[in-house]
């Protein structure tokens, strides 16, 4: 940010000499833009920053009458306590395993299916592609009650308890991730020039070889975008774990923080904020390093078709 504000005046003075009065308008537009961007940045960044501020405080300082926006005696006690506590580490481990397995399963199902739907057309494939998109629009809040009942029925019939296990989530999460990933992969695959796979087929490649040797390498940016999306969704999902898991050993991060760190009326805000911030870290880190893929995935959902 600092860089951008320093760089802008020089840029405008150069253009100012060239274009005269038009550039004065531009300069003002630029100033106003920066002014409002700073305001919006404050609005958008206040909660995470406040999370960080609170996470550095002791309980005594949190309940003191002092300025809540400032840390007078910073401490890492909250971080140390959480990271040496078995329950929090269990949540983190559960979240990590569930998210990684969801990503693997989702990408395996959706890349292969998207290839079949985009290139190998079979009876009903166009309808299926539309169906995939419609499935993506069905929210999980519509499905959790019947799924809950179905899992109870499954237990009665086959004597396999699906409820209250972290691995149950690996069955449920693909319903949220597969339709979207398939949809954007169809878009990416459809944009690959047909000459590429025609050449491969003429050279005698099988369909599977065409997929692994040509489509996957060429559509790699799309695959990375879909993977990021898939991980973010699996990491953030809140409703399914809340409905399907209850024991502390089976919880994933979002639900674990909400249900175990908030004990009755006693709110240990220092720890809650620390837990939430650490829980938000993996998606934020991925985002920081792969921002362009992340944004490509976001815009592809609605613009590719």
């Amino acid at each position: 940010m600092a860089n951008a504000t320093i760089a802008s005046p020089t840029a405008t003075t150069i253009s100012g000499r060239r274009y005269g009065s038009v550039s004065r308008d531009r300069r003002w537009a630029l100033r106003w833009s920066y002014f409002f961007l700073v305001l919006f940045a404050i609005f958008f960044l206040t909660p995470p920053v406040y999370m960080f501020i609170t996470s550095l405080k002791t309980s005594a300082e949190i309940s003191a009458e002092s300025n809540p926006w400032w840390v007078y005696s910073p401490t890492l006690a909250n971080y140390i306590e959480l990271l040496t506590q078995n329950t929090y580490l269990t949540f983190f481990r559960n979240s990590a395993i569930v998210a990684v397995l969801t990503v693997i399963i989702t990408m395996a199902i959706s890349v292969i299916a998207a290839f079949a739907l985009a290139r190998m057309k079979f009876w009903g494939s166009a309808t299926l592609a539309t169906g995939v998109f419609l499935t993506y629009l069905v929210p999980e809040t519509l499905l959790f009650i019947p799924l809950f009942k179905m899992f109870a029925w499954f237990n009665e019939t086959f004597d396999i308890q699906l409820m209250n296990h972290w691995w149950t989530l690996i069955i449920l999460y693909p319903t949220l991730t597969v339709p979207f990933c398939t949809w954007i992969m169809i878009g990416y695959f459809a944009s690959i020039p047909k000459e590429l796979d025609e050449a491969a087929l003429i050279d005698g490649a099988t369909w599977i070889q065409t997929l692994t040797k040509i489509f996957i390498p060429v559509a790699l940016p799309g695959i990375i975008a879909a993977t990021i999306f898939c991980f973010t969704v699996a990491w953030a999902q809140f409703l399914y774990p809340l409905a399907f898991t209850t024991s502390t050993t089976e919880l994933v991060l979002p639900v674990g923080i909400v249900t175990t760190l908030i004990k009755g009326d006693v709110f240990n805000w220092g720890q809650i904020m620390t837990g939430a911030l650490l829980g938000a870290a993996p998606p934020l880190i991925i985002y920081a390093f792969l921002m362009d893929y992340y944004i490509a995935g976001l815009t592809a959902g609605a613009t590719k078709g």
Binding site: A4, S33, T54, E198, A280
Partner: protein, 308 residues
């Protein structure tokens, strides 16, 4: 492509029957490749969706078929109509504000030199990246009845403490505010992508014709972005209408069930109170508005598909 792929082998094998076999084999392979996807959609999405309709017609113990009994019961309850009202208010207000803020912020980002745009865009998208359940916890803490950091600032201006989550009006405002905070960056990204696709010549032509900045937005930007604006708003309408995390973490439907939306009330009734059929009937009320939005999105997408 299909015909070329087929023609190659024909030249070699030179028979109609082998061509037929190949086609058949290709479609069989394709079907098998799509099979996991088909099974997943059928068993874990399509079947539960239909099952929800059946569940909604059973009595509480799920022993007797009661037809529309659950719906009759809901229509007679005041809480239900409050949930309908709040769901619509929540979704429509939130989407409108998300769209406006997203549009405005996208313009400001588009205005500044392109060197700095990446940094700003990256910073402004942060609310969308943090898992909603966790960022809502931060808001819950900012709205805390006794230690609210917002109230501390307001006290500095001599304004009385605001019961952010304690009073119906403020609680409704708070859940919408948090939703706008999470969702506006998504609109910003979509609109920014659309803004970049508007050809610069159109603006040049407009300013040569003496158009003001407002006319440029109204006659050039908006018509060019109409598609993206519509589709983003419809997407967001679906997601916001079916929202669960924010209300659940921030207010749990309190005070007095006035902030419940369909999803959170269905959870309260269906899972927490154990009346699965009633919960299923509540969640089914999301279907009409979702269906309308989905129809419009689908129409737009197939239309664009045929244009290309």
């Amino acid at each position: 492509m299909a015909d070329i792929a087929a023609r190659g082998p024909v030249a070699i094998a030179g028979g109609r029957s082998s061509l037929h076999k190949l086609m058949q084999r290709k479609s069989t392979i394709a079907f098998l490749m799509a099979l996991p996807l088909i099974l997943l959609i059928l068993t874990l999405v399509a079947y539960p969706a239909g099952y929800a309709v059946y569940l909604a017609m059973l009595n509480k113990g799920m022993t007797k078929f009661v037809g529309f009994g659950n719906f009759d019961f809901l229509f007679g309850r005041e809480t239900f109509w409050m949930v309908v009202y709040q769901s619509c208010l929540f979704a429509i207000t939130a989407v409108i504000f998300k769209a406006i803020i997203g549009f405005v912020v996208a313009h400001f980002v588009h205005n500044i030199p392109s060197k700095g745009q990446r940094k700003w865009r990256g910073m402004l998208l942060v609310p969308w990246v943090i898992p909603p359940a966790m960022s809502t916890l931060a808001w819950l803490w900012l709205f805390d009845p006794s230690y609210s950091a917002f109230n501390w600032i307001l006290a500095g201006f001599g304004i009385d403490r605001i019961p952010w989550t304690g009073e119906t009006g403020w609680a409704r405002f708070s859940v919408i505010l948090v939703n706008v905070w999470i969702g506006a960056p998504f609109f910003m990204i979509m609109y920014l992508a659309a803004l970049k696709s508007v050809p610069e010549q159109l603006y040049e032509a407009a300013s040569i014709d003496g158009a003001t900045w407002w006319q440029r937005i109204w006659y050039v930007t908006l018509p060019m972005m109409r598609n993206i604006i519509a589709i983003t708003a419809l997407f967001s309408l679906i997601v916001t209408f079916a929202n669960f995390d924010i209300v659940r973490v921030l207010t749990k439907g309190d005070p007095l069930n006035t902030t419940h939306v369909f999803a959170t009330w269905a959870f309260r009734v269906g899972i927490e109170s154990g009346d699965i059929p009633l919960g299923a009937s509540v969640s089914l009320f999301m279907v009409p508005i979702l269906a309308v939005a989905a129809t419009f999105i689908l129409r737009d997408i197939t239309k664009r598909g045929s244009e290309v």
